[in-house]
Every structure is written in C-alpha cells, then in structure tokens.
C-alpha cells in the first residue's frame, strides 16, 4: 500500500470512561505520511487514542477521518489498510508462529499467495529463527511473542500502522532492528508510534505529539521541540545532600554519582547554579520541559 494522498484527520476527539473520567479531551491532529511519535506520561491517554484510531473503541465526542471517511461510520475502510500492535495483546498458545500469522492473514482478507509470501518475509524481517517458527507460541519468550505481534501488524503492508509500546520486551539489538524497520517503512505510510521511551522516538519520528491528561500539549517537528530548549540544558555538579533542593527548583532529567559529587543534568530557563555548564539539549530534555508546563505554544 503506497499512497501519497493518505491522510488521517483527528477532529476534537474526546473519550469519557465514567461520569467524570475522561481518557481524552478535545484532541485534534492532522497526519500525513511519516512517523508520528506520540509521547506522554503513563495514563496520559496514548493508548486510548490508539484504540480509537484502530476502531477498537468509539470516541464519545468528535470524529476521525481516514482519507475523508469517518472511521466510526465506515470502519472497514481504515481496517483494510490498518496494522495494529496493541500494548497488551495475546496469542493463541497452541498455534505456531506461521499458523498464527496464517490465521491473521485469513481474517485480514489476504490472498493465500500473498499471505504465504508475506509471512516468510516478515518472519525473516523480525528475525524469528526458522526452528522457532514451528514451535507453539505458548512456549515463546515475551520478546519473541512481541516479534510475532510486530509481524502480524505488518501482514497487510498497512497504510496506517499503529504501534503501542512496540519495543517493550525486546532486547537492545532487537530494539535497534525494529527502530530501523520503522524508519524504512516510514516513507510510504502513516505510522503512529506510542511510547514513553524518548530515544525510540528520537531515532524514527518525523514529528512528535506530546500528550498529557488526555489533551494534546504540543505537536511539532523534533527540531522545533529541540529549539524550545536550546540554551536551557545544563550540567551541574552538586553535593548529594543538595540534590533534593535542586530537584525542587529545576527539572533534573538525569543524575550520575561521581567522586566529586552528583553530576545532574538540568533543564532550566536560568542558569541553575553558578557552576552550571551549558550542554547540548536532547529530545528528552524537551519532553520534560514541555510536560512540566513550559514551551507549550
């Protein structure tokens, strides 16, 4: 599926779970080809948004258009081109990887030939060893199961790929492999990558949406986010007993204990300490800066 006119339009979407509990509030976003990194703290509403786009649940208010068609009214249009890897998903333990993917291919409506070809390709792509492919999924490790999950999401060569915490459970090597895979896929489709691992987003996202308490806080290019914290990242060395006080007055993104004290990385509009040395800002700094209530323009 390659189509330059693909467009996902999220218009004022809200989701209410209980009388006063909102998972999402007035969320609007326009997406075209590329990888959107969806970043936010736990419980921010990332998975809620994902499940609404994946047609698993309905928005309470607002609508989502896939190439101009409301996905709540005509879900099959988007389902036909959708690849979805949920954060929490299961597999049928008595089937092996090939059988499970054949099952998913059948219900996704892939032809027998395409399915056969894709399954072999994808199992190679996710690096699942040939001898493991015929073993029941019930005996798989979490990482292997995750790789089968990734393969099923890519079965129909999706135009819209939604991956929720995809690298959870993967070892570092597999994580890098998956990030490269996402980068390779990015040019031809819309990919929504939800994660709290900023380095994953840093590596592949063409644009980033920050979400908190169900609301869109900022939608920007990675470089725009980095510009927001330019000159605001510092390295400070403080005695360990002064660290709590530093945390009180500034955003501390990381710390490392050394013989001369604690080396703290700080994001702050002003120089946090006389001895503070300016440092190059990272996306993680920008994320913490925006989430803490700054730079939300």
């Amino acid at each position: 599926m390659t189509n330059n006119s693909m467009r996902l339009s999220i218009q004022d979407v809200s989701k209410r779970y209980d009388r006063d509990v909102w998972g999402l509030r007035d969320f609007s976003l326009e997406l075209e080809l590329g990888v959107l990194g969806l970043l936010g703290p736990n419980g921010a509403g990332k998975s809620t948004l994902m499940t609404i786009i994946a047609t698993i649940t309905q928005p309470t208010e607002g609508r989502i258009l896939w190439n101009g068609t409301d996905i709540a009214q005509v879900p099959n249009d988007v389902r036909a081109v959708l690849g979805y890897l949920p954060q929490d998903f299961g597999v049928y333990p008595n089937l092996n990887a090939v059988e499970f993917l054949e099952y998913m291919a059948a219900i996704k409506g892939l032809s027998a030939r395409t399915a056969r070809q894709r399954i072999e390709e994808l199992l190679d792509l996710v690096n699942l060893a040939p001898e493991a492919r015929r073993r029941p999924l019930g005996g798989y490790s979490g990482g292997m199961r995750q790789r089968v999950g990734i393969a099923q999401a890519l079965l129909n060569d999706p135009g819209l790929l939604i991956v929720d915490e995809p690298t959870a459970g993967l070892d570092p090597e597999e994580r890098v492999r998956f990030r490269n895979l996402l980068s390779d896929l990015a040019g031809e489709r819309i990919v929504i990558l939800s994660t709290h691992i900023v380095t994953d987003v840093e590596a592949v996202a063409t644009d980033i949406a920050l979400i908190e308490n169900g609301r869109l806080v900022r939608h920007a290019l990675p470089e725009e986010l980095l510009q927001a914290v330019e000159g605001k990242a510092w390295e400070v060395v403080v005695p360990s007993d002064e660290l709590p006080a530093l945390k009180e007055r500034a955003i501390v993104s990381s710390t490392a204990r050394r013989s001369d004290g604690v080396h703290a990385r700080v994001v702050s509009d002003q120089r946090p300490d006389d001895g503070a040395v300016p440092d190059e800002a990272t996306l993680e700094d920008a994320y913490l800066y925006v989430i803490s209530g700054n730079g939300r323009a």
Partner: protein
C-alpha cells in the same frame, strides 16, 4: 498474628475485586429471586417443601430453613463457578509471581483463597438471609420475627456447604488438569452425584428421617427430621411424604407450627464435620499448588508432571507419540478462496492442541455411531457421548479473543463480523457435524428422517448456544456448566423438553426440533449483536 494479617489482606483484595463485578450483582439478584420463589404465596397451590399437602406456617423458622436449604443446594453449583478463579486471577494478572516471592507459605495461600471464596459466598447468603426476613413479612402469615430461628439454618446448613464448595474450588484450581474446562464438567458430575447421595437419605419412611451426617452435605436430613417430628405430632394419622422443589399440589394445603431445628451438640458436630473436611481440602490443595512456577504453569507441562501422567509415563514412552511432538504437527493451509481460508484457520484453531486421545475417541465414536446408531437406546448413548466429547472445543467459541487477549488485533481486522465471526460459527458447526456424523450416517442409511431432522437441528443448536454464551458471558465456564446440565437432563435422562437432539419420540411428537431451530436462530442473532457490541468497543 502476621499470618492472620496476610490472610485478611488476601481475603480483602479478592472480596473487593469480586464484589465490584456485575456477575456479583446478577448472582445476588438471582439468589434473592430464588428466595422469593422458595416461599410461594399463601393463596397459591404451590409448595417448595411438601410433606404431603402439609407445610409449616410461614414463620421465621420455616422460611429461614426452607430458603437456607434451597440456597445451599442451588448456590453450590453456580457458586463454584463464581469462585473458581481466585488463583487464576493471580496467575493472569501477574500478581501471583509477586506473591510467590514473599514468605507466604503454600498452605496459607490455599487456605487464604478458600477463606476468601467462602467469605464471598457468605456475603451472597447474608443478603439472601436478609431477604428471607423480608419474605416473612411479605407473606404475612406470621409477623413475629425470631431472628435466631431465621438465621440459624443459614449458619448451620448453608455455610458448611459453602465452605466445602469454596475449598473444592481451590483444589480444582490447584490441580492442573482440573483447572480448565475438564474441571468445570467434572464438578457438575460431582455435584449431581453429591445431590443424589445427600437426598437419598432424606426420604420419609416409617421410622421418620434417618440422619446421616456423613452423607448429608446439605444438612437436609437434620431439617427434614425435625419437620417430620413436628408434622407427625400435628397430624399423627397422616402418611407423611417429603418433596423438596417447586411443586403444584391438588387439594387443600394444611399447615402446622414448626419452631425449627434444635441445634444440639450432636447436630452441630455433624455440620462441623464438613467444615473440617473443607479445611482439610484447602490444605491438601497446597500439595498440588505450584506457587506460580512458570515452568510448571502450562497445562500440558503440568499434565506431564502430574501424578497420573507419571504413572503412565512408561506406557507413553513405549508406544504413544509424545504430546510435545503432536503439538508440533503443523496442518497446512490449503489454497482456498478467502472465506475458505478463514474457515480452515478457525477449525485449525479449534483442533490444534487437542491431545491425541481426543481424536482416537472421536474416531471411535464415529465408528460406533455408524455401526450401532439405528437402535434408539444405543443411539441415545452413542450420540450423547459423541456430543459431549467436543464440549471443550465449543466452549472456546466466542471466548478465545478475550481469554487469549487477541481481541484488539482480531476486531481491528476488516469485516470482523462477516469474516471471522461467520467463520467461527461455521467452523463450530462443522466440528459438531463431524463428531456426530457416525450416528448421522446411520440415520440416513436407515431412513430415520424424523430423527435426522432432530440431529440436524442439534448440529446447528449446540455451537450456536456455545457461541452466544461465550460472546455474552466472556467465559467458557457458563456454557460448560449449562450445556452439561441440559445434556444430562435432556438427551441422556430423557426429559423431552430439553431433548435438543430429538432422540426421544416424545420430543419429535411435540415438534421440539422446530422449536430448537427457532431458538438457534434467536441465539445466533443474539451472538451477532453481542459480537457487534464487542467490535464497536
């Protein structure tokens, strides 16, 4: 003291989790309704405890005892299925792995779970007891409330029974092969046997009721003996008979005053015996409980290490293909049109993972059915066996997506209703058809067209019932318990109205196949609506 605190916390967490579920409210509603039915209106000719057109005045003792007795019999079946998830929940949520790393001992854990089950069931019974008090005033035959006479039967007849149910549920969860569908069916069989044995000692004879606490799990003989004594004093000339259950009687109903069972030390000891048995079972469960060891968590792995499997190991090694090898056999996907591939995938999903002996049994039943299905009595046994054999396949219909958490990826595929749902239903129907085809073939060759009609309707009815209950309840337990009960009462015991297989002439004469065909259509529609709701989120 620390142990008590652990126990309390186990019970508290389980209780909070369970009482916040809809199934709790539904059970409460059903049980209160059962309590209401247990005390028929004074004007009606209905009785639930009938001593031969004689009943006790609706005072606290009579109402309390009646509702307590009926509740303990009724709740002991669904109550088991309601609480048989305490260990499973810890396993599924991952909390078990955390628990396993604490100093909590296995006996304390299984005992805690049994107590937790018991407290939950007790909560239900407490509401029923409250409703019983209300019923006394609704019926208004006696407005003098004797709290002890009302509550004591619940304490001494119902609670020991429920303690046993609570402990048996833990035992079933601890033994790997009883943990899933097979255990659900085994409990029904056990429950039927226990009811039969318990009630066999409660009929009235010339010497009144013989109290046999060892046989009497439900405490019915204690209550019946006391009722018999009072009724005999009130009506010495009458031949007393005892019937428990909702019945409509002919003629005038006479009443007598009964002040309830005198709870003597002996009587209480008889009831305490069951509490002791329950505690013993709860502690025994610790022997089988694997403490969330993932290496032993899998059903099949545990089966291999189970006592029975260990005993059979030499035989298995000599002559039978290993289970592990069997699971590795891969069934190829034939080149078919799209729906055909969905169908094959669904059937493969149903059949994959079944042990080799399941296929041997199915083939045996096919051959036996084809050979001996012409004789009506043989047919009852053969078709009955053929259509209980796949019960664990059917009970997975409509449930798998929840059990295995594949819902998000299955429901986000295109046309989940037109493709996967229909494939699942047709697949289930084909499995039913194939497993019953031995008898079906025989019916065709012998020209028994009326019976073939009943057979054909059952082919559609059984998987549809499973699918509907699975989709709406989200658990396989409901179908497993209900289907086995209906299968036993209808086709096996011959009660025509439940004979969905059309085995008896009476069922055919009353046009039951057509009724079940209509019911199948309604169930299918209900399943479709249920799945549509799931897909819509």
């Amino acid at each position: 003291m620390r142990r008590l605190r652990i126990l309390t916390q186990l019970v508290r967490a389980d209780l909070l989790e369970r009482t916040r579920r809809y199934s709790f409210l539904i059970t409460l509603g059903v049980m209160v309704y059962v309590g209401y039915l247990a005390v028929p209106s004074i004007a009606s000719k209905a009785l639930t405890v009938d001593l031969g057109n004689i009943r006790g005045i609706y005072n606290s003792a009579w109402i309390g005892s009646m509702i307590a007795l009926i509740s303990s019999m009724v709740l002991s079946l669904p109550g088991f299925y309601l609480v048989k998830n305490a260990i499973e929940r810890d396993r599924k949520t991952g909390a078990g792995q955390i628990i396993a790393t604490t100093p909590l001992s296995k006996p304390l854990y299984t005992l805690g779970k049994a107590v937790s089950n018991f407290v939950f069931l007790t909560l239900i019974i407490a509401v029923v007891a409250l409703a019983a008090g209300g019923m006394q005033f609704i019926r208004g035959e006696s407005t003098q409330l004797d709290l002890w006479a009302l509550v004591a039967p619940f304490l001494f007849t119902t609670l020991p029974t429920l303690m046993l149910v609570a402990a048996v549920a833990v035992l079933f969860e601890s033994i790997s092969f009883l943990r899933s569908g097979f255990g659900n069916i085994a409990y029904f069989v056990l429950w039927t046997a226990v009811i039969t044995i318990s009630m066999s000692g409660v009929s009235f004879g010339s010497q009144g009721v013989i109290e046999e606490p060892v046989n009497d799990l439900f405490g019915a003989s204690v209550v019946a003996a006391s009722m018999h004594e009072a009724a005999h004093t009130a009506f010495p000339e009458k031949n007393l008979d005892l019937g428990i259950g909702y019945t409509r009687v002919e003629g005038e109903i006479q009443t007598f005053r009964w002040e309830g069972v005198t709870w003597t030390g002996d009587v209480l000891l008889g009831r305490l015996l069951w509490v002791g048995v329950a505690l013993g079972i709860a502690l025994l469960s610790a022997l089988f409980f694997h403490r969330f060891d993932p290496a032993r968590g899998g059903r099949r792995t545990s089966e291999r290490r189970g006592l029975i499997a260990r005993a059979l190991a030499p035989v298995r090694a000599l002559s039978l293909p290993s289970l592990h090898l069997w699971r590795r056999v891969s069934l190829p996907m034939p080149p078919l049109p799209p729906f055909g591939r969905v169908l094959v995938a669904e059937i493969r999903l149903m059949l994959k993972g079944l042990p080799w002996w399941w296929y041997v049994g199915a083939i045996g039943l096919f051959v036996a059915g084809a050979a001996g299905g012409a004789d009506p009595e043989a047919r009852r046994g053969l078709l009955g066996a053929a259509w209980i054999w796949p019960v664990l396949i059917w009970s997975g219909l409509g449930v798998r997506e929840r059990t295995h958490r594949t819902g998000p990826i299955v429901f986000s595929a295109p046309q989940p209703l037109g493709r996967q749902f229909v494939g699942m239903w047709v697949g289930g129907t084909l499995v039913t058809l194939l497993t019953g085809s031995g008898v079906g073939l025989r019916l065709v060759t012998s020209g028994a067209w009326h019976h073939l009609l009943g057979w054909g309707v059952a082919v559609l009815f059984i998987p549809t019932l499973a699918l509907t209950l699975g989709v709406w309840s989200g658990t396989s337990k409901f179908f497993e318990a209900l289907y086995v009960a209906v299968w036993y009462i209808g086709p096996i015991s011959g009660l025509a109205i439940f004979d969905y297989m059309g085995l008896s002439q009476e069922a055919l004469d009353h046009g039951l196949p057509f009724i079940y065909l209509g019911l199948t259509a309604a169930l299918l529609l209900a399943a479709l609506i249920g799945r549509w709701r799931q897909v819509r989120g």
